[in-house]
Symmetry: C2
Subunit: 551 residues, 2 copies
């Protein structure tokens, strides 16, 4: 059974960039300059001798000069879901079939492991048509296996050879695209003849650089979260009795939190990158939120909305030190002695004895539930599971303490009732917005053009995205151009640089200029549910982040 919206979305015709609208036979390539990686050029060149430094390319209207050989392409969805993934596959399929009816598209199941396990399906019209313009990665499933070892590459080469595969398209985030580049180099060095093309996916928005204006899914996910935050704001402003602490997904970068703040104008939004830059302590953060609560209370408004990025606690310097000390304190067999202590009071004394004075001060201000979580819920290696920490509850508890202290000093006389929310899974599989539906379809279509023209180690690139789709620019960029060397697990690795929120960038500065007002007044804005039909100014908008960056 399908829903009315799903049925209606099947009929939506995604918009391609103007230059890709003339049919495959009328798309030619314009090669640009040779490229260099953004840093560590020599090291990266040495690691990618055959795929480094290639030219940027752009497609244009013109006679197609590509080799029309039969293509057998395999596509992989890697990592967390992002709205629009299905449309990448559909765009790839449509271009591939339009080029040559004999071309074949395979979908490897449940992520990169599908390639290693030789587990795939072959797409046909009937199957693919069920997934057009829909959310989710259920078309073939996704997975988190990393394709990064020589042994895996050898298996992949074997599977490709067995089925005559000519190209692999990997749809994933920064790590997956890094691995796509490494695989491309491997295939090139082994003369396998298999090309590899990457597509930039992640709702986190941290796969972004000079060449990638935004990763797909960010638009739809942030619109879904903003819908809900706006609804909660309206509820807060109607009931006038709750402070809502809303955690939004995004493990490291705060692009999601920032975009949601730009869309909904809450009273407070924490930005992890700013916390790190200013070396903010928990106490400082709690005070800055309490300032908003107190100022609003003084104006009779005992309600508000604060946005908390999922990964923020890891950006608090004193907390990072505390976590390190806890991991040391319980390393190896020391955990046994700790676990043997029968009561929390005895455990607490053990902790007090084991931590430095500075870390103990940080530990002491945490609510007991979080204190216990840090010690009792550790991963199989005995490490603290930072991702499980309910930071929205942590901050609201600390704010409450701050307010009580101010009350005693006669500086606060309001009411503070907090409610907590976490927005994450609710937005990763929404029906893609028109923007994501168009962008993803274009990425997939364009990926095939790169395959047909023989490129490998390239990222499917569609840019000029703040303009109508007609004006979008389609082409490709060597993935190595986006790379630098970083220390990962004790080794120097070539990786795509993750894009954190730029504190000098326009989106953050726009927020920074207005947040003092938002903190005190009620400036909420209500984006409402994503609209796929209706006035173009409602249903064809992209993010405020992209708009500000491109202004």
């Amino acid at each position: 059974m399908i829903t009315p919206l799903q049925k209606a979305r099947y009929e939506y015709a995604p918009k391609l960039p103007g230059m890709l609208r003339h049919g495959i036979a009328d798309i030619c390539v314009e090669e640009g300059d040779y490229t260099e990686s953004v840093a560590d050029q020599e090291k990266i060149k040495a690691l990618f001798p055959l795929t480094y430094g290639k030219k940027e390319i752009t497609f244009k209207k013109g006679t197609n000069t590509a080799d029309a050989k039969k293509q057998v392409v395999g596509v992989i969805l890697s990592g967390g879901q992002a709205p629009g993934g299905h449309n990448v596959v559909c765009g790839l399929y449509d271009a591939l079939k339009a080029a040559n009816g004999e071309n074949v598209l395979y979908g490897f199941k449940n992520g990169p492991s599908g390639l290693l396990n030789d587990d795939f399906i072959e797409f046909d019209d009937e199957y693919i048509n069920q997934f057009r313009n829909t959310g989710g990665f259920d078309i073939i499933g996704s997975g988190r296996t990393k394709l990064e070892t020589k042994e895996q590459f050898a298996v992949a080469a074997e599977v490709c050879k067995k089925h005559g595969i000519t190209a692999i398209v990997i749809i994933g985030g920064d790590d997956s695209n890094t691995n796509a580049a490494v695989l491309a180099e491997y295939f090139a060095q082994n003369n396998s003849g298999v090309q590899v093309i990457g597509c930039p996916k992640t709702i986190d928005g941290d796969l972004k650089n000079e060449d990638i204006e935004c990763s797909f899914g960010f638009d739809t996910a942030t619109k879904t979260y903003s819908e809900l935050i706006g609804n909660i704001e309206r509820d807060a402003n109607s009931a006038k009795k709750y402070w809502h602490f809303i955690k939004v997904m995004g493990r490291s970068a705060s692009h999601v939190a920032l975009e949601c703040a730009l869309e909904t104008q809450p009273n407070y939004c924490l930005i992890s990158e700013e916390v790190a830059e200013k070396k903010m302590s928990f106490s400082q953060i709690a005070d800055s939120i309490a300032d908003s609560v107190a100022a609003r209370a003084a104006n009779g408004m005992n309600f508000g909305v604060a946005i908390i990025p999922e990964g923020v606690v890891e950006f608090v310097p004193e907390f990072a030190v505390l976590i390190h000390e806890i991991n040391e304190l319980l390393a190896g067999t020391k955990a046994e002695a700790f676990n043997a202590l029968p009561t929390w009071a005895e455990k607490y004394a053990f902790i007090e004895n084991g931590l430095t004075k500075e870390s103990m001060e940080v530990f002491a201000i945490l609510p007991q539930s979080i204190q216990q979580q840090l010690f009792l819920e550790r991963d199989p290696h005995g490490n603290v599971q930072v991702s499980l920490i309910e930071s929205e509850k942590l901050f609201s508890a600390m704010v409450k303490d701050k307010l009580e202290a101010r009350r005693k000093e006669g500086k606060y006389n309001g009411k503070f009732n907090a409610l907590h929310h976490f927005l994450g899974y609710e937005g990763r599989c929404a029906f893609p917005s028109n923007f994501d539906a168009d962008y993803c379809y274009s990425l997939g279509y364009n990926a095939f053009m790169l395959i047909q023209y023989g490129y490998t180690g390239y990222l499917s690139k569609v840019s000029n995205l703040s303009k109508p789709a007609e004006e979008w620019v389609a082409g490709g960029m060597p993935i190595t151009k986006m790379m630098n060397m970083e220390r990962r697990h004790g080794e120097d690795k070539p990786v795509i640089k993750k894009a954190l929120v730029d504190l000098n960038g326009k989106p953050f500065r726009y927020f920074e200029e207005r947040r003092a007002q938002w903190a005190v007044e009620t400036c909420y804005t209500y984006p409402g549910a994503i609209q796929y039909y209706g006035p173009t100014e409602v249903c064809d908008l992209t993010t405020k982040t992209l708009k500000l960056e491109k202004e």
Copy 2:
């Protein structure tokens, strides 16, 4: 600043029932039969001597014969937010101004307390136009003060007299409409000349009977929750590694949970009324969920979605007994002895000693976090705060235990990773769906017609709602008709009977017939975000509950 959708929604013209489309001068009344309350007729008649037993009325096209005297109407939003409340006010305002430009509409601020505090605003076009077709109750705020005592009524009469108020419209749930009827009777007995009209609001959907096909807000709220549940289902079916336990708002009745299940076809949905009817124990509930988990795991699907109604634990008979025993155990000064015990182990021994064997068995199967919550987080009267219990976590923890037991018996060999969600505040202030926008505007418009024709103690009634708005029927029904006597706080009170899910009704039976299949297979459906524009089959649908009930 307003969003593009908000701007576009201002332009939306809500659809009135056909019979109200000819202009105020062409609306006449058709009186139907005298009415009787649904039960306890004599008692209710004695309590409402002047307003009991009045005739049902319907509006039709025809010459308006009402007295055209100047009307000064006060409107009140009572209780929890529900999408569409603003449109009730707008419909009321438009009818009132269309009838006579000198008519006045006041909005009492922050709920019924606004009437008691003489705190209101006067609406004009400029102000009201900012709220057309928007969500929330922020137009005047809402509140939970109950208008129920003689002293309050006397104050209300005073305020009405002071401002020449001729009628009060109360927009609220079952309790608020009960109180509207009592206030109407009071005003009638005191010859105040003030009429009272109620409008049926609540996202819970439990204000429903022979006369009220549905309360407003239920449509939009369940569509919003279903959007999110569908997105989560799609995520589950893509990642294939999590069971999502999703609690949905609704303190007593399970209409919201049932409607969401009909819209999204999850693997499991608990219905509180069934739990009560079948006297299900926690163990039985956990087993029934574990059956679905195990059956899916046997088919290689270690993922799923279960919907849990917010208020379900209160419907589990053994739990109600446990709560009663805990309240007794800690009543009065006994709590001090308990609180003085230094460790949880000693507290646990105290509990073990104090509960009956049966209740102790129930207590013992609860996860420790819930056990502690029951004893440590009590309200100012020392009572357990059942509403704070995270029932979604309670059930997933019990299911996990069941699965581990089955694993030991060799009956289960899957993986079970649970994630938890609570959907509530996210949906109460969404932009009303076209259905709720139309229905609410009609309720408000119609409420004015009841006022103009001199009715009091009536509920604004719009029916035939499963048909297009053109065919809707507008009229009024004495609120006393919906009443029976119930025991409340040790007293017999006349109240509107709350509508629980009817286990013999079509919506539940539809669910019951299909749930065995949904439990094992993946039959998810993805409703997507509410659409306000586009194909009528997408944007003018109401709930499956209403459709099935009216079929």
